[in-house]
Symmetry: C2
Subunit: 215 residues, 2 copies
DNA sequence: GGTCACCGATCGGAACTCGATCATCGCTCA
DNA sequence: TGAGCGATGATCGAGTTCCGATCGGTGACC
């Protein structure tokens, strides 16, 4: 509801997609291609992903891949970006569902969303390990975590009544931290090491707590 | 001195280098090649690095590159590994020079070493952004931060008299965190955002402090 | 003289292009 | 209103280019 307005357009695929899709089936195609890419990454890793593999798995031709993505890297970048979008949406859903009263609960919503993503999207951990590959040419090179920090900060302030003083900055740091630690959790154990995940949650909450709790 | 014994052989280039160099000039060659690779990465990014670029910049031929490295990825992996070696050595040097009495001072030694590396080795930030690319085939996929955590833990315990209980694990987490946050600092500002660096230092010290200080 | 280091033409395969073909949509006019 | 028809979008895949990797030959070191 209100949350969704805040995040619409927060993340764009500008520069990633070659031709904006006009017909409906195109959007599906893109989704299918990204799903295929995700599966391929999970299977052979980022470096060994070839555009031919993506095309074949998606049931498309190579030409179709290049219709939507300028090059191989753009496919990976788009995949990464879609992951962040999903994280944002899932976070918002969790926040709406639980309506947290403490910052700690709010953090849990975000961590859960991220963990869920690592679990369900097979190639996501891999791509987080080596994200940013493409960013030098996508834009200034802003880390992906920073992209979600701003919209989330808005939500925290406007909807949860958290003190906004420097929150965006702190959230950015917190997300960078959480990102790295969660990746670590999923490197330790493909299903996500429970201790490492809990440690992450505690650490992030501990970091954000002192300044922010004003629910 | 004693420190150096602890870290010798902690990091090896096993599997990275094709033929162990016999003649002296070979070691220089490898260093030159890695320097070239570092510069290329800083310029065009990891994905766009080609073996030809590395060869040309190093004043060598393509064949020479492949004499020392089995493939393109191995060049990047070796570069990453050399960075971690340098970090370890620089950390040890800093520790020896300052002989810290508090954990906080010790952390500062490490952070300084890492910051220095980001500053002097142009491609290091990039490769930290997307490290691990090669690790799936190098070994079990252990995150690089974990590799330095163990030897550093030994030093902390044996030389600084810090409580060793679960220290390796905590150091691992701390380094993962520091790594990500420092990369962030250098993405924000190529020279390394001072605030972000200080925040990193504070965060890591804060995380390690409660359990460890027993100097 | 034998090994080590180096070179760069060459090969194979993957990234990417391009013109032809098929699908869809909006418009027109009976 | 809906059948026909162009225009534009979407798809394809053989062809081209470029890059990773090899290999046999030449020079440097001991």
């Amino acid at each position: 509801m209100a949350f969704n307005d805040l995040i619409s357009g927060a993340l764009t695929t500008s520069g990633q997609v070659r031709n904006e899709p006009v017909q409906a089936r195109s959007s599906e195609r893109i989704a299918t291609l990204l799903d295929a890419a995700s599966a391929v990454v999970a299977e052979v890793g980022i470096e060994r992903l070839t555009t031919a593999m993506v095309a074949e798995r998606a049931g498309a031709s190579i030409g179709t891949v290049y219709r939507y993505f300028p090059d191989r890297i753009a496919v990976l970048a788009a995949m990464s970006l879609r992951g962040f979008e999903r994280f944002l949406r899932a976070s918002v859903e969790n926040l709406e569902a639980t309506r947290p009263t403490t910052l700690d609960e709010a953090i849990t919503c975000l961590i859960d969303a991220a963990v869920e993503l690592h679990r369900t999207e097979p190639g996501f951990t891999s791509i987080r390990l080596s994200d940013q590959i493409a960013l030098p040419e996508v834009d200034g090179g802003t880390a992906s975590a920073s992209r979600v920090a701003a919209p989330l900060a808005t939500i925290f302030v406007e909807e949860l009544g958290v003190d906004g003083e420097g929150l965006a900055e702190r959230l950015d740091i917190a997300l960078t931290m959480a990102d790295a630690l969660l990746v670590r959790a999923f490197v330790i154990d493909p299903k996500g090491d429970a201790d490492a995940i809990e440690a992450t949650r505690a650490l992030v909450a501990g970091y954000l707590a002192p300044a922010a709790s004003r629910t």
